[in-house]
């Protein structure tokens, strides 16, 4: 095992408080990412301090409203715009909101739109 990684489950109403705790303890926001799992989307907020890696995990439905953490970690705006455009997570109050113009994708919210295609061989193979 290269490193221990802790994952803590959070709810929508406790997310901002938990993120603020990490901020006050001097953690760095490492990344935020989404995973589409059937009908739900799993969001991982990853933090690091002194090479200790911790995740906050929130599960939401596509289109569900989630408060932006960019009020605490300003740099979260890039990740949150990405989540909004690729997964359709409805992030509210992003510090710098690109309103759907962060990426240029042919299909809106591609990761949520075509989960039914998963597992089929690529046409280019």
């Amino acid at each position: 095992m290269i490193e221990e990684q802790t994952t803590i489950a959070v709810e929508k109403d406790t997310l901002l408080g938990a993120v603020a705790d990490f901020y006050s303890q001097g953690y760095r926001l490492v990344q935020i990412c989404c995973t589409a799992l059937g009908d739900v989307i799993e969001i991982n907020y990853s933090f690091d301090r002194d090479y200790r890696f911790t995740n906050l995990r929130l599960t939401v439905r596509p289109g569900e409203e989630v408060q932006s953490v960019s009020i605490i970690y300003w740099c979260a705006f890039a990740y949150e715009n990405e989540m909004k455009e690729l997964f359709g997570v409805n992030i509210r109050n992003i510090a710098v909101d690109y309103r759907g113009h962060f990426y240029r994708t042919a299909v809106p919210t591609p990761f949520v739109a075509s989960r039914k295609d998963a597992g089929k061989p690529a046409d280019t193979d």
Binding site: I2, F53, A78, F102, P110
Partner: protein, 359 residues
């Protein structure tokens, strides 16, 4: 009263061969706001994982970037190996370390050349790229490729480097170090270079950390964060400390990269001395089930690979957070208050890799 204008920077610009666009809001010659725009050549490689066999996907991961291709492949392999509980042979871990450090040396030499070109020092640019060729020759001799190495696979590496060749590589690099120093001394001592880079694009350590900055940009602001200290590959057996500078300006970022070139040469020499004998790969069967965030220190900083698998040949999720993506907010902050003429230098000292961002 100062006149307010919006000046478009990119997506095609002489100092940046890759497409990124910035709207620079200026008051006279001072930038008061910068709004980045990416996604011009987004490739959707993260999505492709749903249709590729997880073992074949190493080839795709390596093609995310042409500069740190090996490290992309290595980070991906590391994530899958962690999920599957594969104990990679120690010799393979050392070989990965050698190739990773060779990637860092060639990346930093390439960056130094581009930086020299940006501030108008053409002979220095050509000299840095000439030196980089020597490193690429080593990479080609040991992997068969100059850009895409193709030497990393899940469970180990595809090629070995015999002890005599390894000894020759260390000798060549040590000879090159003298030559590299002659060029890097210019970066660190030349008046005109200092004039363009000192006190320009300053970001202090606390702010850099809060903005999620990584790599040489963060270390140039006095924060000793280097993902190699986690101890992946053979780094736990090697002696090194993160290269740190305090000033947080363009010059400090340049200094960090210069010092890291010599640190990498030393790490390769250490790895060559300690490299254990034995096999270089394990046969991997089955399919992964679980998840892992793999972290590797690329030349531009910490890269994160999130891999989630459900026991089938196709991964559920593959996510790459590249160092340039993490450094975007810091770049925006650095540009605020900068002179318009300094914008190219500031952007360049972040060493942005748009190919990585557009994964």
């Amino acid at each position: 009263m100062a006149q307010r204008n919006i000046i478009p920077f990119g997506p095609q610009h002489p100092v940046l061969p890759e497409p990124i666009h910035l709207d620079l809001v200026t008051e006279d010659e001072t930038v008061v706001e910068a709004v980045p725009s990416i996604g011009f050549v987004h490739r959707g490689l993260e999505k492709l994982v749903e249709k590729k066999d997880y073992q074949d996907f190493v080839y795709v991961a390596e093609r995310i970037c042409g500069i740190c291709s090996f490290m992309h492949g290595m980070t991906y392999c590391q994530a899958v190996e962690e999920i599957m509980g594969i104990a990679v042979p120690p010799r393979a871990l050392y070989l990965r370390t050698v190739w990773a450090e060779l990637s860092r040396v060639h990346s930093h030499l390439m960056w130094l050349g581009l930086a020299a070109d940006a501030f108008g020092f053409e002979s220095l640019f050509m000299n840095c790229w000439r030196l980089r060729e020597g490193v690429l020759d080593i990479i080609e001799a040991t992997t068969g490729g100059r850009v895409i190495f193709g030497s990393c696979k899940i469970g180990g590496v595809r090629r070995d480097i015999d002890d005599d060749t390894m000894k020759g590589i260390v000798e060549k690099l040590q000879a090159m170090a003298t030559e590299i120093k002659r060029s890097t001394d210019v970066f660190l001592d030349d008046y005109s270079v200092q004039h363009r880079l000192k006190d320009v694009g300053v970001i202090d350590g606390e702010e850099a950390r809060r903005l999620g900055t990584v790599g040489p940009v963060l270390r140039a602001s006095g924060i000793a964060m280097d993902a190699r200290k986690i101890g992946y590959a053979a780094y736990r057996d090697l002696k090194f400390e993160p290269v740190v500078e305090k000033a947080g300006d363009c010059y400090a970022r340049c200094r960090v990269r210069v010092r890291e070139i010599f640190q990498s040469i030393d790490l390769i020499a250490q790895a060559a001395r300690k490299m254990p004998p034995g096999e270089t790969a394990l046969k991997v069967t089955g399919a992964p089930e679980g998840e892992f965030f793999s972290r590797v220190e690329q030349p531009r900083g910490e890269v994160i690979y999130y891999v989630k698998a459900n026991g089938t040949k196709n991964l559920q999720r593959f996510r790459v957070r590249t160092p340039t993506f993490a450094n975007l907010p810091a770049m925006v902050r650095m540009l605020k208050g900068a002179g318009l003429a300094d914008v190219p230098n500031i952007i360049l000292t972040v060493d942005p890799c748009i190919s990585c961002i557009e994964r």
